[in-house]
C-alpha cells in the first residue's frame, strides 16, 4: 500500500473564495483549521507563519482564522513545526492543538506520542494533524540560490512557488517561470533521499495537489479524528468534494510518484546501510514489504 492506510480519498476544495485565493491548492489545510477552530475542535494550530524574511517561515501558534490565513501557502523550506508544539501547550496554554506537518514531521509527532520522553502532557493534547504531501524540501539557501541563479529572478519578487508536472514553478507579478525538477535535484536536504513517505501516511488527514486539477486537492481521510473534522466541514458546506474517479490525473499518478519515491529511497537506504552508515529505517532485506514506511 504505497499510499498508506486511509478510510477515504476524494478530490476537494474549500468553498470560501478568500481561502481559494490565498491557499496553495484547494485550501484544505487552512479551511479545515478555520473550521476546527470555530467549532472548538482545536483551540489553536501550529502553522508555518510568515517572517520578515521573504519565504522563510517560522512555526507560529495561530489562534484565530486570520492567523491561520496569514500562514497559508507552501514555503519550500523548513518550518520546524514539531518544535513549536511544546510551546503551544505550555506558554500558550492550549489543550487541543492542531498542526500541519510534512511526512517526516508527522512521523516525529507519532513517535513522540508513542514515546513521550521530554514531552509530558503534550502527546494527548495533539488533536488534529493535517499532513501535506512532500517529495523533498530545500534548505533556505538552496532555495534562494536556485531561484535567483537558475530562474534568474529576485527572490523578493516571487509571489508563489509550486511543484507540479515535473517542474518547479515560480510566479511573480508579471511572469511564470519554471525549472525542470531534474535541475533542482541536489539542492534538497540530504535526509529526503531516504524518506519513504510521500503522502503523509501517518497524519489524520493528508492532502496535496497531485492527482487533482489546479485549484483542487487530493485528500486522504485516515483516522477517526480526521474523519470527524473532514465530514463535518463537508456537511457544513465549507468544503466541496468530487470522486477521485471523476478527476484527472487521478490516483494513478499519486501511486506512481509514491512508488518511485519509495523505490529510490530504498535504494539509497540499502546503499547507506551497506556502507555501515546509520539510517533510521530498515533495509529492504529486513522487511516484508520493501516499500513499507518503516
Amino acid at each position: 500500500m504505497v499510499l498508506g492506510t486511509y478510510k477515504e480519498v476524494v478530490a476537494a476544495r474549500s468553498t470560501d473564495k478568500q481561502i481559494q485565493k490565498i491557499a496553495q491548492d484547494g485550501g484544505i489545510v487552512s479551511g479545515l483549521f478555520c473550521y476546527a477552530l470555530d467549532e472548538g475542535l482545536i483551540d489553536g494550530a501550529v502553522v508555518a507563519g510568515p517572517t520578515d524574511v521573504m519565504w522563510k517561515p517560522e512555526p507560529m501558534v495561530a489562534m484565530s482564522s486570520d492567523e491561520i490565513l496569514a500562514a497559508a501557502g507552501t514555503k519550500y523550506t523548513f518550518s520546524p513545526n514539531v518544535w513549536m508544539l511544546k510551546q503551544a501547550v505550555r506558554q500558550y496554554g492550549l489543550e487541543k492543538v492542531g498542526t500541519v506537518a510534512i511526512p517526516c514531521q508527522s512521523m516525529g509527532i507519532r513517535k513522540m506520542q508513542s514515546y513521550p520522553f521530554g514531552v509530558r502532557f503534550l502527546a494527548d493534547k495533539i488533536a488534529l494533524t493535517l499532513g501535506i504531501f512532500c517529495m523533498e524540501n530545500f534548505p533556505y539557501e538552496s532555495l534562494r540560490t536556485f531561484i535567483s541563479e537558475k530562474a534568474g529572478v529576485d527572490f523578493d519578487l516571487v509571489e508563489k512557488m509550486d511543484i507540479g508536472k515535473g517542474k518547479f514553478w515560480i510566479e511573480t507579478a508579471d511572469q511564470t517561470l519554471t525549472i525542470p525538477l531534474k535541475e533542482t535535484h541536489g539542492y534538497e536536504q540530504n535526509g529526503c533521499k531516504v524518506c519513504l513517505d510521500y503522502v503523509c501516511e501517518l497524519a489524520d488527514v493528508s492532502t496535496g495537489s497531485v492527482g487533482t486539477p489546479d485549484g483542487w486537492s487530493t485528500v486522504f481521510v485516515r483516522t477517526d479524528a480526521g474523519e470527524t473534522v473532514f465530514k463535518q466541514a463537508v456537511e457544513a458546506g465549507l468544503i466541496e468534494t468530487k470522486s477521485m474517479d471523476d478527476v484527472k490525473p487521478g490516483l494513478g499518478l499519486l501511486e506512481k510518484l509514491a512508488t518511485d519515491k519509495k523505490t529510490k529511497a530504498m535504494k539509497v537506504i540499502d546503499e547507506r546501510k551497506a556502507m555501515g552508515l546509520p539510517v533510521p529505517y530498515k533495509g529492504s532485506s529486513e522487511k516484508e514489504d520493501p516499500l513499507a514506511n518503516i
Binding site: 483551540d43 500558550y92 509530558r120
Partner: protein, 405 residues
C-alpha cells in the same frame, strides 16, 4: 533501664533517614536523634567551574520532590551574584510557579500522611481531592515554567518567556474553579488531623523558627553572619550515629531551628501553636494562601511585558544569595561567578535545618508517636545530604569519616 528503639529507614518521606530513640520503662522517649543516611550527591562540586546557566539546570535535579524551589533559589543566587534586577513580570511568573508548587507539594504530603489520619471510609475522597488539586496546580507550573517537574523556563535574569493571554485567562479560570474545592480539602485535612487526637504538646520544641518570607522568600531576611555549620560529631553525642550521619548541622545564632510552613506563619503571621498538629494545620492553611496568591497574580500579570533582563554573564565574584521558601522550608543557594564561570556554589536546604530539631521533637512522648512527629516535618532528605567540608587551604578533608567524593 533505658532501651533503644530504632526506625531505619523512616517511612513515607523522601530519601533515607534513621530515627534512634532512647526510651524509658514506659516507652517514653528520653532522647531522640534523627539523621540522614542518604548518600552524598555532590551537586555543588559538580557545578563549580561550569557556566552559570548550568546551575539552575543541575540544581533542580538535586531532588524530584522540590525541584522548583531549587531552580528558583539557584537562579536567584545567580541573579544576585551577577547584580541582576529581574523584570516585574518575571518575578510574578516565578511567584506563580512557586505558589503552585507549594500547593502541589503539600497535597503530596497529605497523601503520604493519609494512612495516619484518614479513616478508611474517607480514603477515596481524600485521595481524589489530592489528585484533583495537583492536576490543576501542576498545570500552572507546566504552563508558566515550561515543565512541571524540571522547569525549563526559569532562567538567570528572569524567565524564558511570558505566557499568552489565552493561557493566563485559562489558568485564572481553572484556579478560581479550584478555590471552593481547595477550601473544602483544607477543611477536611484540618478536621481529620484534629480527629486523630494526637496528645497535647506532641512535637513541641523550643527551637526558634526561621523563615525569610510568608511564601516566596527574601534574601534580605537571611543573615549569613548568623549562620554556622557544625559537623555531626559536634552535634550528636553518640559517636556511632555521628559517624553515619550524612549531613552537616546548620545553626542560626548558634541554635538549631525549625523551618517550613509553621515557621513561616509564626514568623510573618500571628500563628502561635506549636507541634505536630500545628504543623499539619499550618501546611494546610498555606495552600489557601498560595492559591489566593496565584489568583491575584494571574489577575495582575501583564502578558505583554518583558520577562528577561539584560546582564553580563561574566560576573564580579560577588557572593550571591538566593533565598526561596520551599514547601519544607527555607532553601538558600549561594553562588559566586567570575570570568563567566561558577567559582563557588553552596546549598543550605530546608530539611537540613530541621534535622537537628526533629529528633528532639520526639522526646517526652511514647516512641510510637515518633514517626508521626517526623512526618509532620515532611522531611525530604536527598537535598539535605550535604557536601563534605574540605579545607580550602590544604584541600584536606576535615573529617575523614564523612563520605569522600
Amino acid at each position: 533501664m533505658s532501651e533503644r528503639v530504632v526506625i531505619s529507614p523512616t517511612s513515607r518521606q523522601e530519601g533515607h533517614a534513621e530515627l534512634v530513640m532512647e526510651v524509658d520503662d514506659e516507652g517514653i522517649v528520653t532522647k531522640g536523634r534523627y539523621f540522614s543516611i542518604t548518600p552524598v550527591r555532590g551537586l555543588e562540586k559538580m557545578l563549580t567551574g561550569k557556566a552559570p546557566e548550568s546551575a539552575p539546570v543541575y540544581a533542580q535535579r538535586i531532588c524530584g520532590v522540590c525541584p522548583i524551589p531549587h531552580t528558583l533559589a539557584s537562579a536567584e543566587a545567580m541573579d544576585d551574584s551577577l547584580g541582576i534586577e529581574i523584570p516585574k513580570a518575571a518575578r510574578q511568573l516565578r511567584e506563580l510557579t512557586l505558589a503552585a508548587h507549594h500547593i502541589n507539594s503539600h497535597a503530596i504530603h497529605q497523601f503520604l500522611i493519609a494512612p495516619d489520619v484518614v479513616p478508611d471510609d474517607l480514603m477515596v475522597t481524600a485521595i481524589n481531592s489530592v489528585s484533583e488539586i495537583r492536576k490543576t496546580v501542576q498545570m500552572v507550573v507546566d504552563i508558566v515554567a515550561g515543565e512541571g517537574i524540571h522547569p525549563s523556563d526559569i532562567r538567570i535574569g528572569g524567565m524564558a518567556s511570558n505566557i499568552s493571554e489565552v493561557a493566563r485567562k485559562r489558568l485564572y479560570a481553572r484556579c478560581k474553579q479550584l478555590k471552593p474545592k481547595l477550601d473544602a480539602h483544607v477543611e477536611l485535612i484540618i478536621g481529620l488531623v484534629a480527629d486523630k487526637g494526637f496528645p497535647e504538646g506532641l512535637g513541641v520544641t523550643n527551637a526558634p523558627t526561621l523563615a525569610t518570607d510568608i511564601l516566596y522568600g527574601n534574601r534580605e531576611n537571611f543573615d549569613l553572619d548568623r549562620f554556622t555549620e557544625i559537623m555531626p560529631e559536634s552535634w550528636f553525642d553518640d559517636p556511632e550515629i555521628a559517624k553515619r550521619a550524612c549531613s552537616t548541622v546548620p545553626l542560626y545564632d548558634g541554635r538549631n531551628v525549625e523551618v517550613g510552613p509553621r515557621a513561616r506563619l509564626a514568623t510573618y503571621g500571628d500563628f502561635k501553636e506549636r507541634g505536630v498538629v500545628a504543623q499539619h494545620v499550618a501546611r494546610a492553611l498555606e495552600m489557601k494562601t498560595a492559591l489566593s496568591k496565584i489568583i491575584d497574580t494571574l489577575a495582575e500579570l501583564d502578558t505583554s511585558a518583558p520577562v528577561m533582563a539584560d546582564f553580563d554573564i561574566r560576573g564580579t565574584n560577588k557572593l550571591g544569595v538566593g533565598a526561596i521558601e520551599g514547601p519544607r522550608g527555607m532553601d538558600v543557594h549561594m553562588a559566586q561567578v567570575a570570568n563567566g564561570k561558577t567559582q563557588f556554589y553552596s546549598c543550605l536546604v530546608p530539611t537540613t535545618w530541621n534535622i537537628p530539631t526533629m529528633g528532639i521533637a520526639t522526646e517526652g512522648f511514647h516512641h510510637e508517636f515518633g514517626p508521626h512527629v517526623i512526618r509532620a516535618y515532611d522531611p525530604c532528605l536527598s537535598c539535605a545530604t550535604h557536601m563534605i567540608v574540605i579545607d580550602d587551604e590544604d584541600r584536606s578533608i576535615l573529617k575523614d569519616e564523612m563520605v569522600r567524593i
